[in-house]
Structure formats: C-alpha cells, structure tokens
Symmetry: C2
Subunit: 296 residues, 2 copies
C-alpha cells in the first residue's frame, strides 16, 4: 500500500530529525554532568516520537519548511519524557522497565530521577523562548498552550484523577475524562501548535482539535487492548499490569469486542473531523490508522 | 529606628498582598480537588514571601503602581514552593516538618506531593502568559528568565550538586557554586525581573544583579549559622540537621567566627553594588540587613 510506505518513511524521517535535534539542545549548556546524563538517558530511551511526528504532520498540512516547528516538537517530547520519569517512580506506578529499558530511577536514583523530570519540564519552556525563528507572539502562545496542556488543568490533573481511580470503578465518562486530560491534552497540543505555526484558520484549528480529541481516545483504547492482547517483547513491559493494578480500563467496562467497536467509532469521528478541515490531511489520516492498529 | 519600622510595614504589606493574590490565581480554575488542595496547602504554609518582597522592592525603585509585577512575584513564589515540596520528599531530604507544619507528602502522600510540585512549576509559566498587564515581549523575557533561574542551569542544577556534595567535603568555591545555583538564581530572578518591569537601565540591572549575588550568599550563610545557633521554635525545624546529614556548610569550613566575618563582607559588597545602581534603593538596603540578621 502506497500510503503505508509513505507513512513509514514520514515517521522514520521525523524520528531521525528529533534524535538529531534533541542533542543540539544540550550542546554548550552548562548542566551538571549527572543531571544531563539522566535527562538524556530518558530522552534517548527508544521513544517513538509520536507527539513530535503529529506536530510536524499538522504543521505540514499548511507549510513545508519545518524549522519553525522544531522547538515546539522538542519541548513537547521533553514534557512527555518528564511525565514518564515521574510516572515510573516508586511512589507512582513503581515501574522497573519502560520500553524494554530500566526506568530512570533504577539507573540513577529516585532523587536524580525527580530532578531530571523537573529539569526537562522547566527546560522545555526555556527552549521555546530561545527560538529565533518564532515571533514574540508565537512564543507566548506556545508557552501558554504547553503549560495549559501539561499542568494542573491538563496532564497533571489527569494523573491525579488516574491515581484516584485506582481500586475504584469508573463509568465510561469518568474514564474518558482521565484519558482526555492525561494523554489527550498533549496530543491536542501537538495538533493545535502545528496548525497554529503553519498558519491554519481558526475554523481549521477547531476541526483539527476535534480530530485530536478522538485521536487521544483511540490511543488510550489501543493501549488498554494491548495490555490484554499485546506481545510483551514488542511493548517492552509486562502485559496484564492493568488487571493487576485493578485499574479501570475500556476492556473492563465494555469487554474486548465492545472496546474494539468503540475504537472503530472513534476512528470514524476522527477522520470526519479531518475532512472538515478542508486541507490535505492525508498524513494525519494515515496516522489515525497507524495509532489505531499499532502493536506496541 | 525609622528604617526598621518602615521595613516591617513594607514586608507585612507585601505579604498580605501575596496571600490575597495567591488565592485569586485559583478562582475558576478547573483543577481536580485533591491536586488543588495539595498545591494550596504548601503555598499557604506560612512562607515569609521573601522572594516576592524582593521582586516588589526592586520594581518599586523605579515605579510605584505594583500591579504589573504581581504575576511574576506569584509565579516565583509557586516555583519556590514546588522546590520545597520536592526537596522534602523521602528520596530527597526526607523531612517531616517545614515551617513547623507537616510537609506536603506527610499530609497527602508522595504521589500527590510529586504531582503538586509539577503542577505548581507548570502553572507558574502559564500565569505569566495570561497577564493582560504585560506586553508580549515582557512575557517572553520573564518566562525565559524564570526557566533559566529554576531549571537545569539554575536551581535544579544546584539541587543535584547539593545531593552530590553530601558526605564529601567541598572547598569554599564549590560551596558557593551550590548556593548560587540552588538559592541565588531565584533571588537574582526576583531582583532582575523587578528591575526589568520597572524600567531600569542595563547598567542598573547589572549592578542589581551583583547585589542579588551577594544577597544570595548572605541568605545561605545565615541559614547555616541558624542551623547551629538558631531556636528550633522560630525556625520550625530541627537545628543541627546539617551536621547530622554530614553536609558541607560555611561554619564547617570557616568555623563560626569566620562565617560571621564572611557574611559581613558579603553585606558590604551587596550594599556597595546597590549604591552603584544610583537610585533610591533604601528598601533593598534595609532588606540586606534584615536578611543578614534574621532569626528564622
């Protein structure tokens, strides 16, 4: 299939760009050695860079020269990485492995892991303000969107709700709220910021945000499905952990068949929103299927 | 003494303003209940608001209408508070009390305390971008200064060096580096940002930053002295903890008399820089003595 080949090429190309750019943000930065090592360890621990890829794909609906989108994509990846480091801590999910590698606090120690997370979060805002390719107005908009998406009304809020939801059963609505905040807000940031920097109209941004909302749900439903049906070697962590943690998940609420139906409905709604954006969204269309069918 | 009376009035007045304003930043914000409680618990746990006071005092050298400086002062206090929450965690300093009250993770739990710190850090950047009294250019400058001061090249960098320094002896130079990063950078932010928003010249900002550098050292030396000679009830935590933790401190390097001489030298250098700023810096002069002589 042509689309598949192009999509894989697109993803690989953007992943390579992210790996290269991540390093440049640490050149000539006077960061104490151990802190820098710890930050880079998790940044380079085999992430798929899906959030930067989404940001670039949304941006490239409107513009080709990708340079003005790089700092936002890197900041987003840093925030995502900090959230994983803190999530893995003993006081949180207490995970030993992430993507098949030891978690940050297992390689360094808890104190260093906490500080590396704090440092990645803080540095992500700084690097936006340092970007000579952005206007002052764009910098303010991006810092604002990024802080909203990742802060107490966004991702961190979702993490608290997720903790509270352990050992109690959520209704479908409550489960969607957790995921929308915990995972969806950063995906929405990727799509909105890409479109904003690309010069999309307000109407287009609005449709793309609707798309991002459903994409977030697809992402989480597939995560839950993989926790039941997935291959440990591909996922890089133990399957069945949601069951062990007595977490509310889609399969528990809807059983597996219902979950897959739900996911397919979200895919239709995501693609409908993309069509309404009235632009060449073929990469995002293909990414929707990719997210829906990913096996790790 | 006239100056003393005025200074106490000045500090009280600004503390009251900070208490009031802190609350307004949580009105109508959709933050999950427990997260908001945890953030507010530490924000309202009896801090002296010295960093906001410094920011206001620096600003008011140049302008009287204080409103454009409020969001920066609140953001700074949030960042300071997040750093205390994370510092107190079992994996870090493992403290049970702070300012005579239970630490955040003792009242809530470790997971909530980690997330409350993350949320305060992130929200501090958002509220700068939301301030209608600041220009886009000012917002970018403040976010940049705040991220630099608190991130891996600033406060978090200092925290890592401080951890590394436990159980090993530092030279005076190494000790100053830890304190300059861990404590001094946020104090410098207070002074620089106040002056910047007030409209100081580059030369004035430069002199005020020199002042802030020595003020940071005075602050830390006095902390170390209080850990030996202080009154537990006033400090709100056990004295002698530095000795127990085998930390490098000024008194250990210089013995108590030498430490006091060192502090007095820093006071002279701080005041010399203030004079060179060629403006009415009487409040900052008085604050220098206040910092140098504080008993808690």
């Amino acid at each position: 299939m042509i689309v598949d080949v192009n999509l894989n090429e697109y993803i690989n190309n953007k992943q390579t760009l992210v790996e290269k750019e991540l390093k440049t943000y640490f050149h000539n930065q006077e960061i104490p050695h151990e802190l820098k090592e710890s930050m880079l360890y998790s940044l380079q621990a085999g992430g798929k860079r899906l959030r930067p890829v989404l940001l670039f794909a949304s941006y490239q609906i409107f513009k080709q020269d990708i340079n003005p989108a790089i700092s936002s994509a890197i900041a987003l990846e840093m925030i995502h990485t900090y959230s994983l480091i803190h999530d893995d801590l003993p006081a949180m999910d207490d995970d030993t492995y992430r993507r098949g590698q030891l978690t940050n606090h297992k390689v360094f120690n808890e104190a260093v892991a906490i500080l590396a997370g704090d440092a990645l979060l803080t540095y992500s805002f700084e690097l936006i303000t340092n970007d000579p390719l952005l206007t002052e107005k764009q910098k303010v908009q991006i810092v604002q969107l990024l802080a909203q998406a990742s802060g107490p009304k966004g991702m961190v809020g979702g993490q608290i709700l997720d903790l509270e939801a352990e050992n109690k059963s959520l209704e479908l609505e409550g489960l969607e709220q957790v995921h929308t905040l915990k995972t969806g807000e950063l995906l929405k940031f990727a799509i909105s910021t890409g479109a904003l920097l690309g010069g999309a109209t307000k109407e287009q941004i609005s449709e793309l945000e609707t798309f991002a909302y459903y994409l977030g749900l697809i992402f989480q439903v597939q995560d839950d499905i993989l926790d039941i049906t997935g291959d440990e070697k591909k996922i890089g962590k133990a399957v069945g952990s949601d069951e062990d943690n007595e977490k509310s998940t889609y399969p528990k609420l809807l059983v597996l068949d219902g979950t897959i139906n739900n996911k397919n409905e979200y895919v239709q709604l995501a693609k409908k929103a993309l069509k309404k954006a009235q632009a060449d969204t073929s990469i995002l269309m293909a990414l929707t299927d990719y997210f829906s069918q990913r096996d790790h």
